[in-house]
């Protein structure tokens, strides 16, 4: 969990172009400053590339918190 949180933090900082982003399991992805639907898809592309998992579009759009995202990655690995 900690290692994934570290990897996800780096991904979020890169995609949002904001090194100040910190994440917790409760962080709501859509409430991060600068979020939009295109950023969301870009995030998922980075997650798929980083963790070697695949999502369909329904799964991508359903993920709301960082905790849900980590759980879904672990469920797919």
């Amino acid at each position: 969990m900690d290692e994934k949180m570290k990897q996800l933090t780096e991904i979020f900082q890169d995609v949002f172009d904001n090194e100040g982003i910190t994440l917790t399991a409760d962080t709501k992805i859509k409430e991060i400053k600068g979020w939009d639907s295109f950023i969301h898809i870009s995030l998922m592309a980075a997650v798929q590339d980083e963790f070697g998992v695949a999502y369909n579009i329904e799964e991508i759009m359903k993920l709301k918190t960082v905790g849900e995202l980590i759980a879904s990655i672990e469920g797919k690995q």
Binding site: D36, S37, F38, I39, I41, S42, M44, A45, A46, Q48, D49, E50, G52, A54, Y55, N56, I57, I60
Partner: protein, 132 residues
């Protein structure tokens, strides 16, 4: 290496379809069909010059790429590649970590039989695949 036949077109965001089309025409491009594409949720117009197709795209507010229009206004934003077998190509891209965000559907703006899919790559951005 992923097997693709050739580049089919370059997708180009346009804030105002008519104004952008006229500027492309002044560079020698000719209009080559289009219309509203319910899949991309966008007004489309193909422009052609010397065998190169540029797809002008004016996304609706509910399109995933609408935020890009707000950010970049008029700019290229995806490359579309022609493939022999759409499902096989999608599978190869997904294996390499691309996110499939618009699964295979008919592309009425291209032809009656064409099917397209859209993927997002971590380092290359948006990729469209078309099977004619």
């Amino acid at each position: 290496m992923i097997n693709m036949k050739k580049i089919h077109h370059i997708g180009f965001l346009a804030k105002n379809l008519e104004k952008t089309a006229k500027d492309f025409e002044s560079m020698g491009y000719e209009r080559n069909g289009g219309g509203f594409d319910p899949i991309q949720k966008a007004e489309i117009l193909f422009m052609n010059m010397d065998g190169v197709n540029v797809e002008l795209v004016v996304p609706s507010e509910d399109s995933e790429v609408y935020p890009l229009l707000k950010k970049y206004r008029n700019a290229p934003y995806h490359i579309c590649y022609e493939v022999e077998n759409l499902e096989q190509a999608i599978e190869e891209f997904v294996k390499q970590g691309y996110a499939l965000f618009r699964p295979a559907v008919k592309a009425v703006a291209i032809s009656e039989t064409a099917r397209v899919a859209f993927l997002m790559g971590r380092n290359v951005g948006m990729v469209e695949l078309v099977e004619l």
